[in-house]
């Protein structure tokens, strides 16, 4: 039972394998981390119920965007000045947060290597609904200057639903602020339904993710 190796969990990280933990009173507890530490249920679609209430909630959501401090590629250099006095994203109700569980926006700031994509998916799935994705730079649209690289993805929208693209290589902080403005507009119109889209097309997204992440060693949904 312990550390049973088979084809399926060939890549499973050591801490995620079935193992025995000694309890406080010396009793032995068998732990299967994939079942015990993670929720197995797949994401569900949450349909907006009442239009008037939903409009009000969307207005509130749009005016308080909590951005996950997650930088990939060149764009992670563009985000710190955004919070400095010169650009001051706080004016627009945009603030940074250090953990995915407390943030609602993830900025994919540039090229994504396969290794980073795995971490991005993990972070994205841990965020609470509703969640929004801002894709920064041309690398997330069609691969940009890394379009023929063996290790960077070409199209982000095959792996997670994207709400706003900010084109450029690299877009300046002003462009990112404009991107936040259009994201707000989108949320207020009730069109930023990325989390529901992810739940609806969950199988398609998962198949795409698993196609390129060959050492898949985590649960299918990291909640």
């Amino acid at each position: 039972m312990v550390n049973k190796e088979n084809e399926k969990d060939k890549f499973l990280a050591p801490e995620n394998k079935v193992h025995i933990v000694i309890g406080p009173e010396g009793e032995e507890i068998t732990v299967d981390p994939l079942k015990d530490y993670f929720c197995e249920a797949f994401p569900k679609v949450h349909e907006p119920k009442n239009r008037i209430v939903e409009n009000f909630i969307n207005w509130a959501r749009a005016e308080s965007l909590w951005v996950l401090g997650f930088g990939t590629g060149c764009g992670s250099i563009e985000i710190p000045p955004l919070l400095s006095p010169r650009y001051d994203a706080f004016r627009f109700g945009v603030a940074m947060r250090a953990t995915p569980r407390q943030s609602s926006v993830i900025i994919i700031s540039g090229y994504l290597s396969v290794k980073t994509l795995k971490r991005v998916i993990r972070s994205y799935e841990q965020m609470q609904n509703p969640k929004f994705v801002v894709a920064l730079g041309s690398c997330t649209i069609n691969g940009g200057m890394y379009w023929d690289s063996y290790n960077t993805i070409n199209r982000l929208d095959h792996y997670m639903p994207v709400d706003v693209y900010v084109a450029g290589c690299m877009p300046r902080p002003e462009a990112l602020l404009a991107g936040f403005e259009s994201l707000k507009k989108r949320i207020k119109e009730g069109r930023a339904e990325g989390a529901n889209e992810y739940a609806t097309n969950f199988k398609w997204y998962k198949a795409n993710q698993k196609k390129i992440i060959k050492d898949w060693n985590m649960p299918d949904y990291n909640w």
């Binding site: 290597s113 396969v114 290794k115 649209i141 691969g143 023929d148 063996y150 070409n154 199209r155 060959k214």
Partner: protein
């Protein structure tokens, strides 16, 4: 610098001495004598600082070229030791016992070029490419464009028209050439 090279020549077989700059020289040596030479340079000639280990793939000639770049902080000179190893079943003696950080370079080279360094710590673990199952990507025979198109869902490009032909077909459709 020339004195150091003369010193080396009395003890080891080296060829192709290139004085790149006043303070930088490259020498080429055989696969077997490379690590003894580096050890001797470190212990007796004061090349105590290891700068980098790089690889070049000479695909047509069937060789990998390894360059160990060393620095002498007292004399402020750099010395590069080049060695050629066969591409087929590429393997090189590990140098991690001389400087710890060499192990990281060797791990990366193992992943990117497929050169094995037996005995080097953690050399078989993945470095950047997790779960890679293709030809090592820095080898010349690896076609990165083909791999990318096969794997990463390329976005279809826009249709583009050559303005001259387009306008001609619009304005003078009956005219030839």
């Amino acid at each position: 610098m020339k004195k150091i090279v003369e010193n080396i020549k009395t003890r080891f077989k080296v060829s192709d001495v290139i004085h790149q700059r006043e303070n930088m020289t490259f020498v080429t040596t055989g696969k077997e004598s490379a690590i003894p030479l580096i050890t001797w340079l470190r212990d007796y000639e004061g090349f105590s600082h290891f700068i980098l280990l790089s690889t070049v793939d000479w695909n047509e000639d069937g060789f990998f070229q390894l360059t160990y770049l060393l620095n002498n902080p007292v004399k402020k000179v750099d010395l590069g030791i080049r060695t050629f190893i066969l591409r087929k079943n590429a393997e090189m003696t590990s140098a991690h016992h001389l400087w710890e950080q060499v192990a990281t370079y060797q791990r990366e080279i193992k992943e990117m070029f497929g050169i094995n360094f037996p005995g080097s710590p953690r050399v078989d673990e993945s470095f950047l490419l997790e779960g890679w199952d293709d030809v090592p990507p820095m080898r010349r025979e690896f076609d990165t464009k083909e791999y990318s198109e096969k794997t990463f869902f390329p976005r279809p490009g826009r249709e583009s028209n050559d303005p001259a032909t387009y306008m001609k077909s619009k304005l003078y459709p009956n005219e030839e050439k």
